[in-house]
Amino acid sequence: MTTLFSRAGSLLRNTTCKGQVDRELTEEVGSYVELLTEKKMKEGMNEREARRAAMVEVGGIEQVKEEVRASRTGFAIEIFFQDLRYGMRSLLKKPGFTLTAVIALALGIGANTAIFSVINGVLLRSLSYANPDRIVMLWERSVTDTRRQMQNVISPANFLDWQKQSTSFEQMAAVGDQRVNLTGGTGEPEEIKAQFVSQPFFAALGVQPLVGRSFLPEEDTVGNDLVIILSHELWQTRFASDPQIVGKQATISGRQRTIVGVMPSGFHFLDNQVRSWMPLALDPAIDYREKTGRYLRAVARLKPAVTVQQAQGELAGIAKQLEQAFPKKNTGWGVNVVPMHEQVVGEIRPILIVLLAAVAFVLLIACANVANLLLSRAAARQKELALRAALGATRMRLVRQMLTESVLLALMGGVLGVLLAYWGIQVLIAFGPDNIPRLNEITIDPRVLGFTFGISLLTGILFGLIPALQASRPDLNDALKEGSRGSTGGRSRTFRNIFVVAEVSLALVLLVGAGLMIRSFMRLQSVETGFNPENVLTMRAQLPRKKYTEPHQIVDFFKQAQERIAALPGVQAVGAISYLPLTGLASRDSFRVVGEPPAAPGQEPGVEVRVITPGYFQAMGIPLLKGRLLNERDVKESRVLLINETMAKKYFGGVDPVGKQMEVFWDGSGPDEIVGVVGDIREGALNKEPEPAIYWSHWRVPYSGMALVVRTSGDAARFGTAVQKEIRALDPEQPVADVRTMQQVIAKSIARPRFNTLLLSIFAGVALVLASVGLYGVMNYSATQRTHEVGIRMALGATRADIMRLVVGNGMLLTFIGIGIGVAASLLLTRVMASLLFGVTATDAPTFLGVSLVLAAVALVANYIPARRATRVDPVIALRYE
């Protein structure tokens, strides 16, 4: 222990009072020599002889001092700082080289840091729940011939049975998503997203409210459920962060609810737009199995010793029993237990992996680039290194010196890279689609900085090692000769060529990836939607059930709203639909065609159910193909529906469906007559084929929340205020949400692929630039190296064209090898992208061809410039060129 402290003290002294320590050493050794001389004189030598003998015995004062220095604590550190200072000086002496290298590295490291911080924020950092690895999502699953749903919402009846019978979970909670209207507090009436949760919800997630308390068990029962918990954001914006909020009232869809708590900032469950939570209050007396469909999601916390597989096994057993007990509703329905983390990030994992690979490639290209720069520089520094070697520097010392320099470069690149990444992340968050989970939680935290530091060190060693080893064994004899050309021999050129080939092939892989994404995105954008999105304004209104209790009140409200809007100048058509296309929402049910044998339970074909008001098809520009559309006279009793083209083709074949009867099971009220066939549209997403669908009139299913669709004569966005005013005039407390043009709706539905394409294209662009700069650098260098040779060739009669062919041919050979390797690697690697592509295969030949041509063209330019310079050489000068 004493030793340790003493050493620490010496280290401090050796590094801080270096001068004094050294002076004392000089004096000490000097006094030794004097004393020895005196001793020799005493033994009978004269002074000169004695001093000489003493010096011989000591063997060189400087050497002794050097030995002492080398034995001191912190000697290695001192050497390191020497290397660092020397490295810094030599880097500053060549600012052009340093700047080029640092920028290349900063691009590579910055891209890696940015993407790593996304991965850190989205994939690695645990969810803000307690012990998130024990939280699972529960889904129903149905894999039959007609339905393939791995994650289907749950019937409340099934949820209650799971809850009652399972033993794998500490808590199990159901969640129903809804939009509600908030009035009161500060501001206009507002539609907010809410989650209706059963009581153990917060316990299952392991999160406590910031203010107040979570729900009590008795509040999860009908009649006692008029309580609400606010999100932090709602508390701030709507209630001015009132610290005395608990116990106050909020009016939600016309009902007074007591505020019992506020959740901490950032808390959300699956959807970060949700602003409040209320008790779900399932009523055990109601037969949900018969009365309602499937609409709940469920979250549960596993007991400590229970694995996901065990829970899955137990629930599957329960589901099997339920299938037997309720064949009509449960045949073909099983359970799917999904770990929470998988649920949140599973979908975006492929693109993050692709992006991570992309930035790793960019970094490798940058490394190869800088390694080549260093190789060229090492050739120029050969004399310096040879001199140091001649003065006694060991090879190790030279390698260490060179590595210190390259790590220094890499660290400078790292610092600049972090700045780039910081800026890049801001751009990512600003332009990123808002449906990437937890994108806004991304920051540069210590883990990201650690990662950056790590890859900087690693890259420094990676690109520095080969040049360092190459340069550290100079041929002293040759290198020190005056006027030697300092050629670096064949091996160095081989390395350079390998690096160029590697750069080209890596860049090709990236370009292929980006090319595939771009082509896929273009396909996506040119998909025939089936409707005309131009000049269409959309918005949503959700009527509170408390206020609009009767179906006719709801229908009348939308009818009047439509009439008022239609009267606005410039409005051409108005309609409403239950769920707007391309928002990913839909109702589904099973059906049968009257006159055909019924399907076995669980095997009934499914159909999308959409509810519309007259005017919807005109407003959206969807064509009527056969029969008639629905109109004002199609009230509840008229029992008619429309089908889409896919439905007509799939289930009626060549027969005219108009006039046929079909039954959608919905409320069990019997069959309807098909009165018309309308055109297919892309409903769920642009990349999803149209599904069979039916349209009912609003009278038949009076949804209280509808999306209004307004076709206007000009720029639809301009009509927003006027339309909202009309609705406000109808009911001043009624909020209107999501006022967007249909084109914005489409854009949002493909925001994610657009974003992915953009990112990958940026990285591929950076890769292309780095690779072509690298190629140019190497070609330029070798052209300069070959000036002498070119001179000889020209003197012997070679034409400029010959020289051009020689130099360009050499570079293009490397390029084509690189492209060949790149194509082969791409064929293997782009497979992982398959799930991200639409309309193109991962081995799309035009993309591969086009990208190879682009790369070859860029390489040709990078080769041509130095080659042309080589041909301009005057043979006489070239031959004299030293």
Binding site: T2, T3, S31, L35, L36, K39, M396, I466, F495
Partner: protein, 135 residues
């Protein structure tokens, strides 16, 4: 192409080995052994009185009957190293003929170190001795 790649791999491998085993080369091992002996002799030489560098060297030569003649090139590094380890302390003083010199003496830790090293050495020399006597 292939051969060059192999050379590249070998070069990387060899340099990694070099970096990993930098501190345990053969001559370092030998130095360690000698260093232990030298340390013990220096500690012993200083156990009776404080001495300057030449004094230590003379004293060692004297107590080993001239077997060990420690040159400044190894003496000074040892003295400084042991001072940094806290076994010795150094003070400037006057030599017998009034020359300024740096005098070294044992610290408490130095004395303890002398004891342990003496014990260790005796155990080892006994063991080696009996090993050499065995037939």
């Amino acid at each position: 192409m292939k051969t060059n790649f192999c050379i590249l791999l070998l070069t990387v491998y060899r340099s990694l080995i070099q970096i990993l085993y930098m501190s345990t080369r053969d001559d370092d091992l030998k130095a360690d052994l000698l260093q232990g002996t030298l340390d013990l002799l220096v500690l012993k030489a200083l156990s009776a009185q404080s001495l300057h560098g030449l004094g230590v060297s003379n004293r060692i030569s004297q107590i080993t009957n001239g077997t060990f003649d420690v040159k400044p090139g190894s003496l000074f590094p040892a003295l400084h190293r042991m001072e940094e380890a806290g076994w010795l302390k150094a003070e400037w003083g006057e030599s017998e003929n009034n020359r300024r010199a740096k005098f070294y003496s044992l610290t408490k830790a130095g004395r303890r170190q002398l004891e342990t090293e003496t014990e260790d050495w005796q155990r080892i020399s006994l063991a080696i001795g009996s090993a050499l006597r065995a037939s």
